[in-house]
Amino acid sequence: MAGVAASGRRQRAWVPYAMIAPGVLYLVVFFAIPIYTLFKTSLSVNSGSRFVPTLEFSWQWSNYTEAFSSYQEQIARSFWYALIATLIMIVMAYPLAYVIAFRAGRLRNIMLGLVVLPFFVTFLVRTIAWKTILADDGWVVEMLGTIGLLPPEDRLLSTPWAVIGGLVYNFLPFMVLPIYVSLEKIDPRLLEASRDLYSTPARTFGKVILPMSLPGVLAGSLLTFIPASGDFINAEYLGSTRTRMIGNVIQDEFLRVKDYPVAAALSFVLMAIIIVVVIGYTRVLGTEDLV
């Protein structure tokens, strides 16, 4: 009897491992191995020809110093743009998510659908469409010119503003949805209680709603900041040489210059900075309630 029970327990012991096996396998094949190869590349030297490099691993840490010192401007710019874009997104997404969660009523699903709708068009086409909207002769530029809000270049395209605007536009749904989820989870009875206790609407928001929705803001910020800082499409199509981001540099190093070690090192620099930023961010805001 005891033996049967024990074997049953033993049998069950491997079940969790079997269940995570596909995920682990996937991670190993599509994450761990590529990351390992990329890491090896980043510490290699090219002993072959320029166009057909033969990479030899040699702990070449100078690839990192070279990558960092040559491209610190693009690195700094990437994170600066991503930061501004993320802040703009929070300001835009929070009220929208709030309305959808508390005020939309029967329109809630339709509004959520509208938030997601742009994803039915590819990222690239959406970005290129902005070139038409922001054209020098277009009404947007004309209107901003009339009220004196144009940047010094007298246009929007090929300026940082177009790139940041593109980032905001393309990643906005990733900010709206997590904030919506955390707002939607708030028990309405808490809001009633707050009102019953003579709290003003502003205090209810500050003391109840905002703290409870912060995990959504945190999740949204991560979901937008990370891809935005590595993005290269917006800078490529809406920007100029003065707005190039680290993604553009990595692409150039791989395809044009074919300096694979430095390109790989740059990828790691980008990853390292993102990890540091994310850890710092979650330390400050906490992750317990992260959706």
């Binding site: 040559s70 020098d136 290269f232 791989f254 074919k258 300096d259």
Partner: protein, 410 residues
């Protein structure tokens, strides 16, 4: 990656302003994002010599890898009827460097790349020849080779056309919107007119972008040195610092030209044929000091599984009547001589268009890039990349004495 470019539904999209170069400009960019993938995968599995790629190659199938929108409707069907072969035609050649990055490991290991015939640009063909990755083409099997423009038979990229036969050519020159510029643009200096500030684009490919600048500086790109390239790159950087140049583009200058954000641009002639049909203000010019002709070539990788079929296809292309159909569809410059009669049969307007059927004196003003030693070419690419990558604007140039990224010592 799902973020790839839109794929035109039919080849008629060529006629509505979507040429292969505009298409590839967009997709090349994205392919760049993906290029890391194959690189890593081949790095992992680089040793399995025996793995035999697609494996679909056989003597009655011909696998062709060509640029998007670079063929006529029904062309391969008529070839299949004429030859009895089955054509496996793929429009998966997006961009020379991307194609090279994706296939070099397989070619170095002499593994099948899934294509028996590929159509790279002549500079890439030269690289492939120098690496020994192409099969010789037996001219005896290509009787129509006599139709070819004689000057192309002995190009510096492949003397005697032993490994590559031209497919189409085109000019790299200047396009401008005459209504906006108010005057014809004839020289490189016109690009630097302060009136056009921020409304000029240049090509980011170093040969296409710099060659005409070098010629305007009195340098002969046929004998290009790193110093000459640096001189041209410095001029471009200076103009870029002033804000004269709006962007460096691949082939994606078309939107900016049509929306008049840009009024002077370095372009490929075939694109302007199509854009000018919609917008008569758009003009194309080969600069006074000279322009460039690029030539796309048909080559047979040494991993081919159907050498005979590939040669048969080349011969079919070189038939004047067949080729006229290709010209009508792709609107680039024929590599066959005296196509006027054949083109007139199809469309007199086509025959009269100097960008499709250029007169000899225009052909005399353009030159093709000489084939450079690999290290020199790589240095030149790096030099121009500093400019197009925004690494040379004020306050950013590295301290004197440091030759910087232009000359990696490795």
């Amino acid at each position: 990656m799902s973020r790839t470019s839109r794929r035109p539904a039919t080849r008629t999209s060529a006629a509505i302003g979507q040429s292969r170069r505009s298409f590839l400009g967009r997709s090349a960019l994205l392919a760049g994002g993906v290029a890391l993938g194959p690189q890593l995968l081949t790095a992992c599995g680089g040793d399995d010599e025996g793995a035999d790629g697609g494996g679909s190659g056989s003597s009655d199938t011909l696998r062709i890898s060509n640029w998007p929108l670079y063929i006529a409707d029904g062309f391969n069907t008529s070839f299949e009827e004429a030859s009895g072969l089955t054509v496996d035609y793929k429009e998966n050649f997006q961009d020379n460097e991307t194609w090279f990055a994706a296939n070099k490991d397989a070619l170095a290991a002499k593994q099948d790349i899934g294509a028996d015939l590929v159509i790279p640009t002549n500079t890439m063909a030269a690289r492939l020849i120098s690496l020994g990755w192409l099969n010789e083409i037996d001219h005896a099997n290509i009787s129509n080779i006599s139709n070819m423009r004689p000057d192309l038979l002995d190009g510096p990229w492949d003397p005697g056309a032993k490994y590559s036969l031209p497919y189409f050519s085109g000019f790299v020159g200047l396009a401008y919107n005459e209504a906006e510029t108010g005057r014809p643009i004839t020289s490189i200096d016109d690009m630097w007119d302060p009136a056009f500030k921020g409304r000029v684009t240049m090509l980011s490919d170093f040969q296409d972008g710099l060659r005409m600048v070098m010629m305007s500086q009195g340098n002969d790109p046929g004998e290009a040195t790193v110093e000459m390239v640096q001189e041209a790159a410095d001029l471009v950087a200076e103009q870029n610092d002033k804000g004269q140049i709006r962007r460096f583009t691949g082939n994606d200058y078309q939107d900016d030209l049509t929306s008049q954000n840009v009024i002077v641009a370095q372009v490929y002639s075939g694109d302007i044929v199509q854009l000018a049909a919609d917008n008569p203000d758009l003009k194309f010019a080969v600069p006074d000091s000279g322009g460039t002709e690029f030539i796309d070539t048909m080559v047979i990788p040494y991993t081919t599984k159907n050498q005979a079929g590939a040669e048969e296809w080349m011969d079919f292309v070189y038939d004047r009547a067949n080729y006229a159909k290709l010209v009508e569809a792709v609107q680039y410059i024929p590599v066959l001589s005296d196509m006027t009669d054949e083109l007139e049969k199809i469309d007199p307007a086509l025959a009269a268009n100097p960008l499709v059927n250029p007169p000899q004196e225009v052909l005399d003003r353009v030159t093709t890039w000489d084939i450079l030693p690999e290290d020199v070419e790589a240095d030149m690419i790096a030099i121009y990349n500093e400019v197009t990558g925004g690494l040379t604007w004020p306050g950013w140039r590295r301290a004197a004495g440091d030759s910087g990224r232009g000359f990696p010592t490795r």
